[in-house]
Amino acid sequence: MSEAVATIEQPPEPLPNGQPLVIGSNLGRRYGSRWALAGANLQLRSGRSLLIGGHNGAGKTTLLRILATTLRPTRGELIIDGIDVARDPIAARQRIGMLAHQSGLYPELTAIENLRVVGRLLGIDAVEDRAAAMLKRVGLGGRERDRLREFSAGMRKRLAFAKLLLQDPQLVLLDEPYGQLDPQGFDFVDGLLKSLVAEGRAVVVVTHLVERVAPQLHSGLLLDGGEMRWTGVAAELPAAMGRWMLR
């Protein structure tokens, strides 16, 4: 790992008010002798969004899982809303919601039962009403009593979005949010991204569809071989990726 690359910093967020919600310093994760992520630095404020680009194996999902607190970094420090994640990951998780590759739901349970499981674990009041409202918001109104097993892949994705919204997180982590969705689903995700940011949440998106999502987001970060290669305005990420790959 070159030190010059390791010290690339995201430019300071243009919004001056308040501390960043997320501060990641020199985050790295090693599997055996290979660094899947080697020294990522990032800051993200509430109401701002970050697009992470890179090819397969670049370290995008590793970084996202570290931000989600489900993967312990081998080195570095992660602070979320002032909480040192290494010290109190459970308190940090109260601020985080993540949409992963898989839905994270139970195929044998109905849509409403899946949301009820999450609602009860989070101690949400009036979980039935809120779950029903979330299902409506993701376009699954009227499908409350249907089992997940009967859902298409796209519907499962929508239900995973409903679960995420039910959590009401301050930091939203989206891993390939467009995956398995049809064109209508793409529009749904575009709208949701806008509203999540407008609601004052910090949003981190990992996707291969950088051209589609870049214009909608604020900052961009390019990873390659586990190292940060470029940071800047999200809209410039597709061009930066092109330039980097030509080198």
Partner: protein, 231 residues
């Protein structure tokens, strides 16, 4: 690692337990298969020994617990299959849920399954092995409660550890069986003493041993569970 107070764990444990029992209810086919497997193995032991009622009765406790042990492997690995199909376990870890609550909820659900299994296998073993309770029913019930608990706690930990392994069906018994030998020995002895009588008053010693191993397993396994899920 976590600052969650034990009192705050209770609603989370109940939430996980309720979810796992609901999954068992919806997956009744899988549960019935476990029960059928356990009953069949009880039957096969009686065929293997032959129509010698004295021999059958003398080892009824052993056959009962071996059937429970073998069936527990199916029950434990089945309970984790639902969690791995859509990466639901990792999704639970994304919630502010203490890993100890996850462990206790899942291990209790697995204990409930094994207790249900034991409640069916005991009368079945009376019929197949020509035995009955001559000692204390309370001791037998305690042996079943503690014995199943002693299988469920390390079983839940190892089932989670091997859930995504390629050879999980072989790995789980390979890891679990050596660890639960003390529980098995104690449970078999208490059960046999309840069936055949306890002139030497040994039951309490074996029950104490069962209780100690339960304390050890239910004390250590929750602490390791977070690391196991992360790995």
């Amino acid at each position: 690692m976590s600052t969650t107070k034990m009192g705050a764990l209770v609603p989370q444990i109940l939430g996980i337990l309720r979810k796992d029992l609901a999954l068992d209810w919806y997956g009744r086919g899988r549960v019935l298969a476990v029960f059928a497997f356990a009953a069949t193995s009880l039957l096969l032991f009686s065929f293997a020994v032959g129509p010698n009622t004295q021999k059958l009765a003398a080892h009824a406790g052993g056959y009962l617990w071996l059937s429970l042990l073998f069936a527990s492997v199916l029950a434990l690995s089945g309970s984790l299959r639902e969690e791995t199909e859509e990466e639901a376990l990792e999704s639970l870890m994304l919630l502010p849920v203490d890993p100890r609550a996850l462990f206790f909820g899942k291990a209790l659900a697995n204990s409930v399954m094994l207790w249900g299994l034991a409640a069916i296998l005991v009368p079945l073993s009376f019929a197949l092995y020509h035995t009955h309770v001559t000692g204390s029913w309370i001791h037998l019930i305690l042996a079943l409660l503690l014995g199943c608990g002693g299988l469920a706690a390390p079983g839940t930990l190892y089932a989670t550890m091997t859930a995504r392994a390629r050879g999980r069906d072989v790995l789980l018994p390979l890891l679990l069986f050596p660890l639960v030998v003390p529980v098995l020995v104690a449970a078999v002895n208490v059960t046999q003493l309840c069936f055949a009588g306890d002139p030497m008053q040994q039951t309490n010693s074996w029950l104490s041993l069962l209780a100690v191993f339960n304390l050890v397993y239910w004390g250590i396994c929750p602490l390791l569970y977070g690391r196991v899920i992360e790995a």
